[in-house]
Amino acid sequence: MDSVIFRKSPIQNQIPMENFTNETIDTTQLPRFEEVPFAPLHPNYWKLTLIHLFVLFLILAAGLGFGIVFNNELIPYQWNLIVAAAVLMLLVLMFSRIAFRKKGFAFRNHDVLFRSGIIATNTIVIPYNRVQHVALHEGFISRYLGLAKIEIFTAGGSSSDIEIPGIEKIQAENIKQLLMGKIQKQL
């Protein structure tokens, strides 16, 4: 395997002296990320989640059905199993709904925020000048619902990347353009 490596030198930014000021920052006056209103995901994303869950439940139910029909030992417990499966499905449905409601995103002048989590509320903030690249992802079903997913990558590894699902296709395109514009301005 032959491989040739080329690398660009990092671009050094220098702030001109005459524009340079260094006043004390009043930290109480800083914009607060926790007060930003978050935009919810598109209602169609809930439909998408339901479709995914429906397929999952269908497989689960089919498995259970086959189990009961072909394995005689399970027949005495069939109602227990069915009730357990129903409760499980309800719980999954409930948690999916909570997860959907909790997910939200916001674009500020200088950074992008994404909030998620069922038990814990996680908020991740990426400044535009730390964004490495952006990808737009359209799933097979989500395309029919007019949805797309935006993935924002930083140099901090996979735990510091943002994935915003359930954005309208046109809006996603706009957001991507906005992001690319912001990244460019930073350099």
């Binding site: 491989s3 690398r7 660009k8 671009i11 930083t154 990244i183």
Partner: protein, 502 residues
Amino acid sequence: MKVDFSQPQRQSPIGVLIMFFDTIQQYGRALWPLVVIGIFKFDAANRLYIFLSIPLIFIVIGIIAYLKYLNFTFFLDNKNDEFVVTEGVFNKTRTTIQLQKIQQVNIKQSLLQRIIGVHALDVDTAGTNDKEVSIKAVSHELALDLKSVLLNNIRKVSENQTSETENPEIQAAISEQPFISISFLSLLKVGITSNYIRSLGLLLAFFVTTYDYAVRFSNHGIIDEDQFVNYFDKGFVMRFVGILIVLLLAAILIINVFRTIIKFFNYQIAKQSGSLLLSFGLFATKSTIIKPEKVQIISVTQNYFQKKFDILELKIKQATNGEKEARKQAIEIPGCNKNEHIAILKLLFGEMPEKGFMLKPNFRKLGFAVFLTIVVPLVVFYSVALNGAPNLLEYHYGVAVYVVFMGIIQYFSFRNNRLFINDRFIIKQSGAWDISNEIIEPHRIQAITTSQLFWHKSLNIGSITLHTAGGNVGFQLGNFEKIRNYANLWLYEMETSDSNWM
């Protein structure tokens, strides 16, 4: 003939073959258990069906590969200086990379690609482990053209200097002007005082396997258990075990010392135009360069004995591009004393980092740690012991030792867990015995995650994770109000300055 990259390009048509084998590999990995079951479980008639369906499967994969080939396009958006790659048959992904962000473009050829006569081209930006974009089958000319377009101001780097390599040039430079050299005595001290946890693990593993053997022997009737116990009287056994432990500890210490000396013998550090040059190793001398602008996290580790000996260990994590192994690896400087460590930190940070405002974790952190490491294992142990394995109950004293030992460890790691913040540095202190201080500068942060459990809202406690290109630094269950204030301040600093994080 120059290719116009501003128009969407496909790969070489022969690349369908590469796609074909890729797809087979991909599905094969996911479906091989089914195939194995199919071969062994079904009777002859069903096997016939399976063999008949194989050509069908290949045709389907062929169609998928062709669709993949059709849908994979790449082009240069000259207006926005972007490289855009579109891929996917059902699930479509469009990846956009700013040309300025591209760090590396590698042209590669695997055996299969060599046979077919195509090349792969990988585009890499900083940070993330994976290559961002991989074009699997293009002709060599096209690959070269594309590379030169992607990197308009190319500078050839002969080898990756962030990883540890054998490099005579660096060694020569170091011998000219040594800055710090770590003595044999310091290495001895390091060997004696570090890696206790690992040694303990080895010790435990040894005992568990020995005991296992003894039990197996007795079960095979080679040694009768009662006879075995009677043969050695209790005092003798105790003395024997004591001697064994002492011998093992000695052996482990010696192994530690040898390992340290072999790895770090003749550790030399030199300064050259603001960078640190390192060289070390007994059999193979390794060299590496640390550039201050690439440094992301420095952790300083010291335990009680090392404090008495005046030695500490530095671990330096740099931003690397691409190479997975290099990313995980931190550069270690073992056994430097206080003044040397100050000199190194001053060189890399410009000043000696000082501990500023202190954030303490809430006592619930200790509670949670105790729950995870003591309560849960005890519940599991006793529920197993009471439901069918009553002979486990004889090990009460072992349980007590475990509880006390774990309790002490958790208490000290809670007491040492602190986050110190001042204008230029964030220092996270952690550890029970080996106390480490991870130092980062706010402008190295890539992204900030804050997290709060819903029942902690009224208690005003929560967690923060600072993501850097050299790894994450996290602090759990501190005063959430303070944490958010600092997050806002760091975001402000990151967003108003254009300082380079690498």
